[in-house]
Each structure stands twice: as C-alpha cells, then as structure tokens.
Amino acid sequence: MTIPPPRTTAELPPDPSGGPSADRQAPQHGAATFYDPDRHPWPPNAAQVRLFVLALALLGLPLAWWAVSR
C-alpha cells in the first residue's frame, strides 16, 4: 500500500459540510480542515458504523468476560 504524500494546504478540498466550521478547523494554520472527505467519507454509512460497533463488541465482550472471571 502506498501512502500518499502529505498535501499542501492549497490542495485541500473545500469543507463539504458547508457549515460554519471555523471550529472544525485544524487550529492555528487555519486553512486546513480537519478531516479529509476524499479519503474518509463522512459520515460513514450505516453499514460501516454497524460493522465498527460489531467489531468492538466481538472483541470486547469475550475480553470483559475473561477479565471478571476468577
């Protein structure tokens, strides 16, 4: 897998939310939005969220079970 080089600020796509996202900016260098919709579609679709929660549960519940067994 090749990792794309870091982009310059000018290359960053506009914030797709369109909202007043001053606060959703990366601080200080005020021009960078803090998530990149190209690489990380936002919001993740429902299936992705379900998969994520399922993965956490599948990993966490057995571990939690083990942790409280004596």
Partner: protein
C-alpha cells in the same frame, strides 16, 4: 466569505487559498502569551522540585537512612509531596500554559480576564503547590491517594480551579452554538467534570464516608483525576499540535467522536478497579473491570486516529522535536492504556496488584503520556508565547534522555513487579521479596535521576537564547522540499 486573517507571524506559513466555510472571527484573537509563559516556566521549575522528591523517595528504598531520620524528610511525607507535586505543580501548570495559548485560538474569543489569570497564577503556585508541600512535609496531610494535601489547601485548590474553569469556559460560552474542534471537546469535558468529582473525592471519604464506602469514592476520584482531568487535558494538546504541525487534517472525524464519547462513558466507571477483591460489592468491581476493558478498546480507536493523522510524517517527527514529544507521548498513551486494561483483569490483578508493576504503569502514564505531550505542547507554543524560538539542540537532548530514562524505569519496575508477585505467591518470607528488589530499585533511582536531568535540559532549551544554528530552522530547512515540513516548522518567525 470572510476569512480569519492568520496571526502575523504565521502569515508566510499559511499563504493558503481561503477555504470555504471558514468562519473564524475577523479580528485575530489574543493568545495570552505572558500567562502561558509564566505557567510553563513555573511548571517546569516546580517539576524539578517534584522530581527531586521522587528521587529522594526512590533512594530511600535502597538506603533507608538517606537524609537522616528527620520527620519532614521521612519516606511517607516525601511521597505525598512527590505525587501531589507532579499533579498540581507540573501537570496542571503545563495544562494551564497550553490552554492560555490554545483556548483563545480554538474558540476565537479571549479568556475571561487577564487580571484573574495573574491572581490564579499566584494562588495556584503559592497557595496550592508551595503551601501544600510545606504542610504535608510538616505533618498536616490527608492520607488519601491523590488527595494528600490538607483540607485548607483543598479549599484553595477548589477555588482556584473554579477560577480556571471560568477562565477557559467563558470563551466557549461566549460564542454561538456551533460545533467545536475536537481539542475543545476535551477542554470542556475536563473543566466541567472535575470540580464536582474533586469535591467528592477530597472531602467525602475524609469526613463523611468511612471505610469501604469512602474507598469507593476515593477509588472513583483516583481515576477521575487521571482519566477525566489529566487525560483529556493531554489529548487536547495532542489534537491541537498534530494537525497544527503537519498542516493536515485529523485522519477521521468518526474516530474522533468515537474516542471522545467512549472516553466520556467508560472512564468514569473505571475507578473501583483499584480495589479489586476488596469488601466493595463484587458486581461493582466487575462493572469497573469491564469498563476498563472497553476503555482500552476505545483508546485503540482514539490513538489510531492520532497516529494515522501522522501517516507519512516520519521525517517531520525527526526534525520537529515538539511533534516528536507529542507523537511518542501518544504511543505511550496507547501502551499505558492497554497495560491498564490488562492489569484491571482479575486473573492479572490477582498477581501483580500491590507490586511495582503498577508503579511502572503510573509512571508510564504521568511521566510518559501526560508529561511528553505537555512538553510537546509547550515547545510547539513557545516560539509564539515567548517571541523567540527555543534552543533546539537542548530540546533534542531532553527528548532522548527523557525517553531512554523513562523506558528504562518502566521496564525495570515492570520486571521487578512480576518478580515480587511471584515471590509473594510462592510463600517466600516477606523480607526476601524486599531484598530481591534491591538492584531494580537502584536502577529506578538512577533512571529517575536521568529523567530529572532531561527536565533541566528542557528548561535550558526554553530559557537559553539559541544561536542561529540552534533553532529548528536548520533541520526543518533540510526538508523544505516537503511542503508540510516547511509549514510545520513553527519557528519560522
């Protein structure tokens, strides 16, 4: 679309085309440079005191008569001074320093009052830290973990902390109801959660809830101090510095949200894991242990987000020492959290609880995770709050000395902790486990001393005026072909 004019010193660094949807207020907000500087320097100077107490305590493990048998310098009182000093003198000063820099920038509004800021500065450092130290050493204290300073100091601490809450929440309350950047969530969380938790932890077990009930509340506070004060204040710095230095967005907003709300939900439920197999009701202990497991999973998501935000920035972390401190601090955070979840589990806890394994854990958390990230934050902010760059050579030395010393210390304590656990279970005579720990305790003292040396180097890095070749411009200049590196070089002023 009106766009916030970047602060003058970074103007060259951010000659970016305006991004749609940028709504920072037109006037540049003021960063409270002098307050930030004062807290940073006070924190580092007092850290040397807190570290010195720690070294004395460590030395007494192998030379119990070290410093003579004087009441004010007895092991127990010095330990009070050490841990309370680390929290109030160092970590909190560091957090306040960075908040004076970051909160106005993040919220686009100034803090509540500069005059209040100076009052709070002196109250905190004299009325909390110095007074607290004098009192515990002279024998007025409360023997409750994370609450050793006596009740007078607790009252002052509470008053001052409420002052800081007003100071740093006011900017957020003064702005329109809109989304906040991740770092701000962590500030808002820590500042609203802590005052009540502090009151319950500092006053109830001491005066109102005896025995096992007090243990429940004090256990909750032990972890609330770590999880809902130190952790979010540190993560706020990490979430600020990483995108600010790399000039790139945080990897995933979804993971930011999951990490934050997972922490909010699971961390406050962790506290009872300090008293497992105790007379506290078993299912209360079990809830705390399960919450600890899920906290570990949450941290994996949280740290993955931060580390993925640093993809492809290996060279930048090598040249930018502020980012390197934050990055390594983030890695320590992952390690210490996984270790914490692991040792909360009953089969593990049964063996390693009460040993030096746990002492290693707490040093990885406080001296590793929190301290490294604060140092990174201070170094990142320094060029702007001090008006001149730091001495990069000393800062690089501080990094390597601190890292090697800390890794040595934690590894050493972890190993000897397992050894102690084994000896206790084997039924060997107690004193054998003490004697067997001797060489490890010596290594701990030496590594702790080197850690303190790193803090001295850091102080020199901040205070000494760098020569032309001692700023970060030299290493950063070497990689200017990489646009991010150039923008990340914070000393472009």
């Amino acid at each position: 679309m009106t766009v916030h004019a970047p602060p003058p010193e970074t103007a060259t660094a951010t000659t970016a085309t305006p991004v749609v949807g940028t709504h920072l207020p037109p006037e540049p907000t003021s960063v409270e440079s002098d307050l930030a500087r004062a807290h940073a320097i006070a924190g580092l100077v007092l850290l040397l005191g807190a570290a010195a107490f720690g070294i004395m305590v460590a030395t007494k493990f192998t030379a119990p008569q070290f410093l003579g048998d004087r009441a004010a310098l007895t092991w127990g009182r010095l330990r009070f001074a050490h841990t309370q000093g680390i929290l109030y003198a160092w970590l909190m000063n560091g957090f306040f320093a960075f908040a004076y820099y970051a909160v106005p920038t993040l919220s686009g509004r100034p803090v509540l009052s500069r005059a209040l800021g100076w009052w709070l500065f002196w109250i905190w450092n004299v009325g909390v830290v110095l007074l607290g130290w004098v009192m515990v050493l002279s024998g007025t204290s409360q023997s409750v973990e994370w609450g050793e300073f006596p009740i007078v100091v607790d009252v002052i601490t509470l008053g001052a902390f409420l002052g800081f809450v007003a100071q740093f929440l006011a900017p957020y309350l003064r702005r329109p109801r809109a989304g906040l950047y991740v770092a701000s969530w962590y500030y808002a969380l820590a500042l609203t959660f802590t005052p009540v938790a502090f009151v319950i932890g500092q006053f109830v077990p001491e005066y109102f809830a005896p025995g096992a009930i007090g243990a429940i509340l004090s256990g909750l506070w032990i972890h609330d101090a770590v999880g809902l004060l130190v952790t979010p204040m540190s993560l706020a710095i990490a979430y600020y510095v990483i995108p600010a230095v790399t000039g790139r967005p945080i990897f995933s907003h979804f993971m930011s949200l999951t990490g934050f709300w997972g922490l909010v939900f699971f961390y406050p439920l962790n506290g009872i894991h300090h008293y497992v197999f105790s007379p506290i009701p078993m299912h209360t202990q079990q809830i705390a242990i399960m919450a600890s497991i899920f906290m570990g999973l949450t941290v994996i998501v949280l740290v993955a987000n931060l580390l993925l935000s640093l993809r492809g920035c290996a060279r930048l972390t090598m040249s930018n020492v502020a980012l390197r401190f934050v990055w390594v601090g983030t890695v320590f955070y992952l390690l210490v959290s996984l270790q914490g979840s692991f040792q909360a589990a009953m089969p593990v806890q049964e063996q390693i609880h009460f040993t030096d394994f746990v002492i290693g854990h707490s040093h990885l958390a406080m001296a590793g995770f929190a301290t490294f990230i604060i140092i990174g934050g201070i170094l990142h902010a320094w060029p702007r709050i001090a008006g001149r760059p730091f001495h990069a050579r000393y800062a690089h030395w501080a990094f390597w000395v601190a890292t090697i010393a800390l890794v040595t210390m934690v590894g050493d304590l972890t190993i000897v902790g397992m050894q102690q656990a084994g000896m206790w279970i084997s039924g060997a005579s107690w004193i054998d486990s003490v004697v067997a720990s001797r060489s490890a305790w010596m290594i701990r003292t030496v590594s702790g001393t080197f850690l303190a040396v790193a803090f001295v180097l850091l102080l020199v890095a901040l205070l000494r005026r760098p020569g032309a070749e001692d700023t970060e411009e030299a290493p950063a200049g070497a990689v200017t072909s990489e646009p991010v590196a150039a923008r990340g070089a914070v000393v472009s002023a």
